[in-house]
């Protein structure tokens, strides 16, 4: 359903959802915007030409969360997470796409992560399309786009004083039930804006044969060259909306086992008890980061595991740019594979 929402009416609408839901919206936190619970005083941030610093994956896979509680006599109990039904408003299409990618890992027959599943089932996601190209983003390059609808319950398009609301599920419809329908003219106009936004996104690198090139040059000098200035700080993976690696550690004092975000960019990540490390230097670790996104995700679910959000480019302290790395990768030699 296509509806019209006056911008003036948005704050009231968000507040009205609080009767039924915990509502999360991007708000200012120090110099950055961040998804936080909506309160009466909350100031919504929608005008930034880029994303929140921490991706909304954190709402589904918190940076730290309890997995297991230790009981008094050496036993174990499931952690209770007590998630209320939620609406996440203002999620950008690249980040919503990332949630869909993460679903393929966390929700699998016989291997479903119950904590992830519960949060997913209890959350309505309302997207805000990007009508102006964001800095560093490259969503169209990796096959997604600024008005991508994947995994959203509704998508908003900024039309100036109003938003076009495209509802994409029953839950999304219910959130906007009191709005009046958009005329065909307005809808056409919104589609035009969407198309222009899409066309304005630059092509950051070619993806054709990229997988084969990365695969076939596993032992190339290329990896040394592109990882030379890397500090191994892990920011690129921490802030990546599709990175999901976690560590499991015991907190003795709190009598619980927790999981914390972790990163393949750390040396200890793959260090084994024997002292052997399959990825002893930043060369192998950079190779893992890029190969996971541009080779292994494709092998697993036939989708690129990068949604082009641009965070790793924006926040890398030494200015390492994945787009430049992949442009360089495109110059590597390769053979056409005939595998089916």
């Amino acid at each position: 359903m296509n509806l019209i929402l006056e911008k003036q009416a948005l704050p009231g609408l968000l507040q009205s959802w609080r009767e039924q839901y915990d509502v999360y919206v991007p708000q200012k936190m120090e110099r950055f915007s961040h998804f936080m619970p909506l309160t009466e005083e909350s100031v919504l941030v929608t005008g930034e030409p880029h994303n929140t610093r921490i991706p909304p994956k954190a709402l589904f896979l918190p940076m730290t969360e309890t997995l297991v509680k230790f009981t008094r006599f050496g036993g174990y109990e499931d952690a209770q997470q007590n998630v209320q039904p939620r609406v996440v408003f203002g999620i950008r299409p690249c980040d919503a796409q990332a949630i869909q990618l993460l679903d393929t890992s966390f929700i699998q027959e016989g291997y479903t992560d119950p904590l992830w599943l519960e949060r997913r089932e209890k959350t309505i996601t309302i997207g805000l399309g990007c009508h102006q190209p964001c800095h560093n983003g490259f969503c169209t390059t990796v096959g997604y786009g600024p008005f991508n609808k994947s995994d959203l319950d509704a998508l908003l398009t900024d039309l100036g004083d109003t938003y076009l609301v495209e509802t994409l599920s029953e839950a999304g419809e219910a959130c906007f039930q009191d709005l009046s329908p958009a005329s065909d003219d307005i809808y056409e106009h919104a589609l035009e804006i969407q198309q222009i936004a899409h066309d304005q996104m630059p092509v950051a690198f070619e993806t054709e044969n990229l997988k084969e090139k990365l695969e076939q040059n596993f032992n190339s000098k290329f990896w040394e060259e592109v990882s030379q200035s890397c500090l191994g700080c892990g920011v690129c993976t921490f802030l990546c909306p599709t990175c999901f690696c976690f560590d499991i550690v015991d907190e003795t004092q709190r009598k619980q086992r927790v999981r914390n975000w972790d990163t393949c960019m750390f040396r200890t990540y793959s260090l084994e008890a024997s002292g052997h490390n399959p990825r002893p230097s930043r060369v192998e670790r950079t190779r893992q980061r890029l190969s996971h996104k541009f080779v292994y995700w494709l092998d697993q679910v036939n989708q690129i595991g990068c949604t082009g959000c641009g965070r790793c480019v924006r926040y890398c302290p030494v200015g390492i740019d994945i787009r430049a790395m992949l442009r360089q990768a495109q110059t590597l030699p390769f053979e056409v594979s005939h595998a089916v």
Partner: protein
Amino acid sequence: MQSEARSPYTPIPMHVLHAYYESTDRSLKTLELSFDHAADSQAFFQVFNPGQFCLLSVAGKGESALGVASAAWEGDFVRFTAQNVGSVTSALHALKAGDALGMRGPMGNGFPLDDWKSKNLVIIGGGCAFSTLYALTKHVHHEDHRGDYGKLTLVYGTRTSGLCMYKHDIAAWHEDEDMEIHQAIDVPEDNWLHHVGYVPDVVRQVAPSPVNAVAVVCGPPIMTKFTLPALVDLGFSPENIFTSLEKRMKCGIGKCGRCNLGPKYICKDGPVFSLAELNALPADL
């Protein structure tokens, strides 16, 4: 596999039935664990397959992946042998009969036993990684299963005779007409009646026939690295050579990302792979 009863991150309550040192230097300890609840035991044995592993949990210390060293027919318990190398494994070594601990599993695929039916089996192990091969041998050797397989050949190497695990069964297998067993130690010792040398060399010397045979290799990385080409030289095809891989693990269910080898997670898609499968994966071990 996932149980309805609890989160896949929550260990099954177990307790130690028997705990004893497996090697004379006390670096290896075997734990036989039994289930606190019959329902957990049932669920475990419904799916258990030799070659699988579990995560043993000591509250406050963490979890360690250990291969299952028992066959289902042995009874209502699960056996593990842990080498004391760090914080969790030293906590496991401190356990005694009656102590409580947690276990998650069984995890991973295990050996493709159905595909191996009617074939000759060449089982090659070294060090403490022999544990799952011990489970495999006990399974295959049992009268209910023995008829399903052809000739059984075992090559087992340890650094010293004192590090040889499961000595009672190994001794019995030397006497067993039904099985060909070749045991080796790295350096000569007095009164040692078997091979002296590294496993890959022993394999070349014993030269098992590749005809209608599969070979399965579990050992320290260096042993595996040199044994696989020895088998290829003997005429085994990559499809008929199997090995069990190890990488650092956390979740054990393909979620935490830690144990990936290319697009595969060793915990969930492995740990058992054929050499043909491995050849198609990146060399990231």
